[in-house]
C-alpha cells in the first residue's frame, strides 16, 4: 500500500463500466412497492439483469441457485431479517466478497453498527434517493468487475507460468541421470535449484561425453521472468547441440555458443556461463568461464577453499569473444561447487570470513556426502529466506574416494 499505483488503462475502466449493466442484482424486500420502485430505478439506469426475493429465506434460495454480483437488502422483514441474511452469507466463503447494500430507515447508531457487524458492505437510507442508490450500485459493481477481470487475468497467467515452470524443472538433470552419468566419471552429483514462480534464467545441465568424461554447465541469463526463461531454454538447446562437436573443448564450446548467442539474443541480453569437463581418470575439472561465479574447489580436508579463474566476457555481448581453458585438480574426496552469484551473495556475511567457502568447507571437513550437502542447502535456504524471488542454483560435484 501507499506505493503509488498507475491506474489501469482507460479501456479497462470503460469496459468495466459497460459490463456492470449485465451483472445480476438481487433485490430483497418484503414490500412489493419497494421491489417495484428499486426495479424501476435500476431498469431505467440500464441494468438488464435484476431479480427479486420477498424475504430472507427466498433470498438465500435464489442466491444458491444463481449467485448475484450485488445484493440490495432490506433489514426489517418478517421471518428471516436482513441481519440474519448478512450473517449467513458471510459465513459462507463463497459469498464472503459479495457486496451487500443494505437499505434501511434505521437511524439509531446501534442498528447501523449491527448491520456492519453482520457483514454489510454499505448502507443506503430510506426513503431511497434514486441518485444515491444508483451511485452506490455503480461503485460496488465497477470495483467488483474490475477485481474479477484482474483476478481472472492473474489466474490465467499463473496457470501458464506453472506449466512453464514445470517444463523448466524437467530440463534439470534428474537424480537418476546424475547417478548414471556421475558414476562414469567417478563423481557424485548433487544439486539444489530454486526456480522463481515467475520463471527465470538460471539453468544447469550435464552432457554425456565419453566413457569417463562428463560435461557440466551452469548458466544465468540476464533479465528475469518469462523472457529470461525463453533465452535459457534456447541456450540449453544450443549447449546440447554444440557439445556434439565441442564438448571436450570448453573454450571452443563457449566461443561457439557466444557466436550463436550474439545473433540470437536481443541487445542488452547476455548470459554468464561456466562449462567444464569432469575427467574421472585424470582427476581434474577442465573448464572455461564467461563471467560466471568462480568455481570453488574444496580439498578433502575442507580447509582453504580454492577459487578458479572466471574472467571471460559474458556470452552474447560481443562477437569474437575468446575464452581461456582452465584446470582445477579434483582429487578423491574433494568437492567442486558451481553456483549462481545469488548463492555467493546470500552466504556472504561481509568481513566475518564466513561465506559460501566456509559453509561448504565445514560440510566437507565433516565428511561431505549427502548429509554435508543437505546442511549447506539448509544454510542457503536460511540465508535466502523463504521469500526470495531470485532463482539460484548450487551444484556439488564430489569426487569419489577409491
Amino acid at each position: 500500500m501507499s506505493v503509488f499505483s498507475p491506474a489501469l488503462s482507460g479501456d479497462a475502466e470503460a469496459e468495466a463500466r459497460a459490463a456492470i449493466l449485465d451483472c445480476p442484482i438481487l433485490v430483497v424486500d418484503d414490500t412489493a412497492f419497494n421491489r417495484t420502485l428499486i426495479g424501476a430505478f435500476l431498469a431505467e439506469a440500464g441494468f438488464r439483469n435484476v431479480f427479486f426475493a420477498k424475504d430472507g429465506l427466498e433470498a438465500l434460495e435464489k442466491i444458491a441457485e444463481r449467485p448475484p454480483d450485488l445484493l440490495i437488502l432490506d433489514i426489517m422483514m418478517p421471518g428471516m431479517d436482513g441481519f440474519e441474511v448478512c450473517r449467513r452469507l458471510r459465513a459462507d466463503p463463497e459469498h464472503a466478497d459479495l457486496p451487500i447494500l443494505v437499505q434501511t430507515s434505521l437511524t439509531s447508531s446501534e442498528d447501523r453498527n449491527k448491520a456492519f457487524i453482520a457483514g454489510t458492505t454499505d448502507l443506503v437510507s430510506k426513503p431511497l434517493d434514486r441518485t444515491e442508490l444508483l451511485a452506490r450500485v455503480r461503485i460496488h459493481l465497477e470495483s467488483r468487475v474490475l477485481i474479477r477481470h484482474l483476478q481472472s487475468y492473474r489466474a490465467r497467467v499463473e496457470g501458464e507460468l506453472a506449466i512453464a515452470r514445470s517444463m523448466h524443472e524437467h530440463l534439470l538433470p534428474s537424480p537418476t541421470l546424475c547417478a548414471t552419468l556421475g558414476s562414469l566419471a567417478g563423481v557424485t552429483l548433487r544439486s539444489h535449484t530454486e526456480i522463481s514462480a515467475n520463471l527465470g534464467g538460471d539453468l544447469w545441465g550435464i552432457v554425456p561425453l565419453d566413457d569417463c568424461r562428463l560435461g557440466v554447465f551452469l548458466l544465468n541469463m540476464s533479465g528475469q521472468g518469462v523472457s529470461a526463461a525463453m533465452n535459457a531454454f534456447r541456450m540449453h538447446t544450443l549447449l546440447h547441440e554444440l557439445a556434439v562437436d565441442h564438448g571436450l573443448d570448453p573454450a571452443a564450446m563457449l566461443a561457439t555458443l557466444n557466436e550463436r548467442a550474439v545473433t540470437l539474443l536481443e541487445e542488452g541480453q547476455h548470459a554468464t556461463v561456466i562449462y567444464g569437463v569432469i575427467d574421472g581418470d585424470a582427476g581434474q575439472f577442465v573448464y572455461a568461464a564467461a563471467d560466471s561465479a568462480p568455481p570453488m574447489l574444496l580439498p578433502p580436508d575442507g580447509v582453504e577453499p580454492r577459487f578458479g579463474e572466471a574472467g571471460g566476457l559474458a556470452v552474447g555481448l560481443a562477437p569474437g569473444s575468446r575464452y581461456q581453458t582452465e584446470t582445477l585438480p579434483l582429487p578423491p574426496g574433494a568437492v567442486l561447487a558451481l553456483y549462481s552469484v545469488a548463492v555467493l551473495q546470500a552466504l556472504d556475511a561481509g568481513g566475518t570470513g564466513i561465506g559460501l567457502g566456509w559453509v561448504i568447507g565445514r560440510a566437507v571437513a565433516e565428511g561431505g556426502g549427502a548429509d554435508g550437502f543437505a546442511s549447506v542447502v539448509r544454510s542457503l535456504t536460511f540465508a535466502l529466506g523463504s521469500t526470495s524471488r531470485d532463482d539460484h542454483t548450487l551444484v556439488w560435484i564430489e569426487r569419489s574416494r577409491p
Binding site: F116, E132, Y153, R154, E160, M167, E266
Partner: protein
C-alpha cells in the same frame, strides 16, 4: 459527536489488522473534529494519519503524503469538500483513491452532489465510530486488493509483451521476405496470431543452393508461455540443423530425435517441412501430423490437397518420415496453415480441410498474395471463434 467506543467489536479488531501501513488523510476545518477522527483511526490500528484544514491544504498534502484514503469534510472555508473532490478526481493519479465524505449535511441533494463530485462513500455526523471504521476498512481492503492485482497485471503485461516481441523476432522479418522475393522469385505473405500473448506456433524459411527455398511450419501442443518456450528451443534446433540436411524427411527425423529428448511427456508438435524447387517445379515435403498443404496453379478451379499424415514430433525418437511432393509450376501458389484454421466451430461440427479448401477455391482468382490471405482470414474470423494460435502462409512462384 459520539465518543469512540472503548472497545471495538472483535470482528472489526480482527479485520483491521494488516492495515497498519495504511495512510489516511483527514481534511476538516474543525480541529476538534480532526483530533477525534485521529483518535478513532488510532484505535482502529491506523497510525499514519495526516491532517489538512481545508480543501487547498488537502490538495497540497495529497502530493506529499500520498494517502490510501481521504476522510473529507464538506463545509470548509476557502476550498470546500465538493470542490476539492472534483479537483482531485481530475488528476489520473487520484482517480481511484477512496474518498469517504463525513459531513453534517444530510439532505438527499447534498449526498447526490457529493457523489457527483466523485465521493466514494458518505457518512453523516455525528460520527458513528463502528460504522466509520467499518467503511474505512472496506475501502482500504479493496484498495489493497486492487493495488496488488494491478501490480501483478502491469508486471505480467510488461513481461509478456517483452517475450511476445522476442517471439515475433523468431519469425522472418518483412525485409527478409522481400529479399527472398527479389532473389528467388517467390513471394511470401504470412499471418501469425497467438491466441494469447504468446503461442506455440512458429514458422521459418531458408535459402538453399540452386534457387531452392526451404520452409517449415510448426504447431506445439498447448498454448501460452509453455508452448512458446518450446518454439524458442525448436528455433535453436532448426538453426543448428540448417547445415545438416536439405531433405525434408531427414530434416524432420532429425528434429524429432532432438525434441524427443527435450519435451516432457504429454507435449508434442506437428510440423510440415518442405522445399520449393523451381527448377523441377515441385514442392517436396514431409509431414509430422501437420495439416494438408494446398497448391494450385493459374487456371485451376480448386486447390490440390497434399497429405499431412505422419506421427507428430516428440513422441517416438526412431520414427522416419515419408517424402512427398506436389506440383508447383511458375505462377503456382502454396498455402500452409496451422490447425486452428480447420477447427473453427461451424454449427455442430467444425470447418474441416474440405471446408477450408472450398473457401480457398472461391478466392483463387486473387492474384495478390497478401490480399488473398487477408480476405481468407476475414472469412475465417467471420465463420466462428478462433481459440487457438493461428499461422497461415501463402507462397507464390512469380511467373
Amino acid at each position: 459527536m459520539t465518543s469512540p467506543p472503548s472497545i471495538l467489536p472483535a470482528q472489526l479488531r480482527g479485520a483491521l489488522t494488516g492495515l497498519e501501513n495504511a495512510r489516511v488523510l483527514v481534511v476538516d476545518d474543525n480541529r476538534i473534529n480532526r483530533n477525534l477522527l485521529l483518535a478513532l483511526l488510532e484505535r482502529g490500528g491506523i497510525h499514519q494519519v495526516e491532517q489538512a484544514e481545508d480543501g487547498n491544504d488537502g490538495l497540497a498534502r495529497l502530493e506529499m503524503f500520498n494517502p490510501d484514503l481521504i476522510l473529507l469534510d464538506l463545509m470548509m472555508p476557502r476550498l470546500d469538500g465538493f470542490e476539492m473532490c472534483k479537483q482531485l478526481r481530475g488528476d489520473p493519479r487520484w482517480k481511484n483513491l477512496p474518498v469517504l465524505v463525513q459531513s453534517s449535511l444530510n439532505r438527499a441533494e447534498d449526498r447526490a452532489r457529493a457523489f457527483a463530485a466523485g465521493a466514494t462513500d458518505y457518512v453523516t455526523k455525528p460520527i458513528n465510530a463502528v460504522e466509520l471504521l467499518a467503511r474505512v476498512r472496506i475501502h482500504l481492503h479493496k484498495r489493497a486488493l486492487l493495488h496488488d492485482l494491478e501490480q501483478y497485471h502491469s508486471r505480467a503485461e510488461r513481461e509478456l509483451a517483452l517475450a511476445r516481441s522476442m517471439q515475433e523476432r523468431l519469425l522472418p522479418s518483412p525485409a527478409r521476405l522481400t529479399s527472398t522475393e527479389d532473389s528467388l522469385g517467390i513471394a511470401i505473405s504470412a499471418h501469425f496470431a497467438p491466441s494469447s500473448e504468446l503461442g506455440g506456433d512458429f514458422w521459418g524459411k531458408r535459402r538453399l543452393l540452386d534457387g531452392r527455398l526451404a520452409v517449415y511450419l510448426v504447431d506445439f501442443s498447448g498454448h501460452g508461455v509453455g508452448a512458446a518456450l518450446n518454439t524458442f528451443r525448436l528455433h535453436a534446433i532448426c538453426q543448428q540443423l540448417a547445415a545438416i540436411s536439405d531433405e525434408p524427411a531427414a530434416f524432420l527425423a532429425a528434429v524429432n530425435k532432438r525434441l524427443c529428448g527435450l519435451l516432457p511427456s504429454g507435449q508434442f508438435a506437428t510440423m510440415l517441412a518442405g522445399v520449393i524447387d523451381p527448377t523441377a517445379g515441385v514442392f517436396r515435403y514431409a509431414s509430422a501430423g501437420a495439416t494438408a498443404p494446398m497448391v494450385w496453379a493459374p487456371g485451376d478451379n480448386a486447390p490440390q490437397l497434399g497429405d499431412g499424415v505422419g506421427l507428430p514430433l516428440g513422441l517416438l525418437a526412431s520414427i522416419q518420415y515419408d517424402s512427398r511432393s506436389l506440383p508447383l509450376p511458375p505462377g503456382g501458389r502454396l498455402f500452409l496453415y496451422s490447425d486452428a484454421a480447420i477447427e473453427i466451430p461451424l454449427g455442430g461440427d467444425v470447418l474441416d480441410e474440405a471446408g477450408l479448401a472450398a473457401m480457398v477455391a472461391r478466392r483463387m482468382g486473387e492474384e495478390d498474395g497478401a490480399r488473398f490471405l487477408d480476405g481468407l482470414l476475414d472469412e475465417l474470423r467471420a465463420t466462428g471463434p478462433i481459440d487457438d494460435d493461428l499461422t497461415a502462409l501463402v507462397l507464390t512462384r512469380k511467373r
